[in-house]
Amino acid sequence: MTAFTALLARDMRIAIRVGGGALMGALFFLIVVTMMPFAVGPDLNLLARIGPAILWLGALLASLLALDRLFATDHEDGSLDLLMMGRMPLELAIAGKGLAHWLTTGLPLVVISPVLGLMLNVELKALGAVALTLAAGTPALTFIGLIGAALSVALRRGGLLLAVLVLPLTIPVLIFGVAAANAAILGGAAFGPPFTILCALSLASLVIGPFAAAAALRFGLE
């Protein structure tokens, strides 16, 4: 397990230091949320109603941001080859990289979402619920995104291709995330079912993501 923790620590250190994109995602999230009232108008009632949707959409786009460099930088400096030849299973290594990515990109989004929710006039007691749904759902976004990151490095293409491939696959996460957040804010529907399905989606993508990404890397870089 030491190789796993070493990889995790290395990736997090790279993300936090100069040139890493750890807080860039959170900054992008802040900007997207700031742009929204300019687009839909400063009506606080409207913002309160679509607030969870804005927060979720912003988090979805922000978590995709740093993904396309996830394997690309490792591929350029050769450390990806070491990971592929190393004794640690490639799937585990990829899961470690995904976890590091989530800790440095996904978790800051979760942490600042209550503040942004406040700006969108989301009720105080619902802020925690929105943050909880983001905490449960953003791992799914990262681990689904791993597949796109692996495919784009295998083909030596990045940027928009990644978004085109990954975004349709994240539709279920968005649906259940917003449904759970809305249930907490507006009441009416139950919070439990969409939230548990959201957790299930995260757990399933935790399994499928690393395996599919490892397959894509093996087939692409051989």
């Binding site: 295998a154 083909l155 291709l161 449904a179 894509a216 692409g220």
Partner: protein, 246 residues
């Protein structure tokens, strides 16, 4: 003839040359028959003649979904057995599946205008077909960006299988999302069993569309094999030129 014999492209091309004219002729005959039947099918008492759009719409939807199934089988063939024909089959099926899904969406929207009063509603079925189209376009984009066809086809095979796992989840979640927003579904097709006077032309049209799919698919596979041959020849030519220059 075993499936492995078809790994030889020349043998496969010979088979295609023999089968394709018959398949094309069968497609034409069944299409003529199906369209004739569809013309003489009775109008719906409520929808009038617009119900005939169904004879294009429903088979196109079925084949749009069959396209992904075919691609998933081809993806398994590519990744597990490395069958050279499998990635040609997968690549040829992607634009066809996208085209049939697109036909389904367009005819559905034209049908929706007179019957529902709008071109587009965010109905569960419409939305999941739209997501299917987006996934098709993603796979096609992946094929386009790959310089090396072998590498591209393996990447696309991984994506196809991930999509095959995801499509039922997307379908389920879209159903959930829709019932949450608008409980009364607008789409009430097949409320009662479809009458034979409509069902028989519909099934004939479905057979015709399936034949059309496979005719186009075989032709597209042949074109793809020839395209790869041309590519190899061009590369050999370029190499010969480079060697002559040094």
């Amino acid at each position: 003839m075993a499936l492995i014999d078809l790994a030889n492209p020349t043998r496969f091309l010979r088979l295609v040359d023999r089968v394709l004219p018959w398949l094309a002729a069968a497609t034409l005959i069944v299409f003529a028959f199906g369209l004739f039947q569809a013309m003489h099918a009775p109008d719906d008492y409520q929808q009038g003649a617009t119900v005939k759009i169904m004879f294009l719409h429903v088979p196109a939807a079925w084949l749009g979904m069959m396209g992904w199934t075919l691609m998933s089988a081809a993806a398994l063939g590519t990744l597990v057995w490395r069958h050279p024909l499998a990635d040609v089959a997968g690549k040829a099926a992607a634009p066809l599946g996208a085209a049939f899904t697109f036909i389904c969406l367009v005819t559905g929207s034209l049908w929706g205008r007179p019957t529902w009063g709008t071109y587009w509603v965010w109905d569960a079925r419409l939305t999941s077909m739209l997501v299917l189209l987006l996934l098709y376009l993603g796979v096609i984009a992946l094929y386009w960006t790959a310089e090396d066809p072998n590498r591209g086809s393996r990447a696309a095979a991984v994506l196809t299988l991930v999509g095959a796992l995801n499509l039922p989840i997307i379908k389920f979640s879209v159903d959930w999302w829709n019932t949450l927003h608008q409980p009364a579904s607008i789409l009430r097709m097949g409320g009662s069993a479809i009458d034979n006077s409509i069902l028989i032309p519909l099934l004939t049209m479905a057979v015709a569309f399936t034949l059309l799919f496979f005719t186009l698919h075989l032709a597209a596979m042949r074109n793809e094999i020839l395209r790869r041959r041309v590519r190899t020849m061009q590369m050999m030519q370029a190499q010969a030129l480079a060697e002559a220059a040094t």
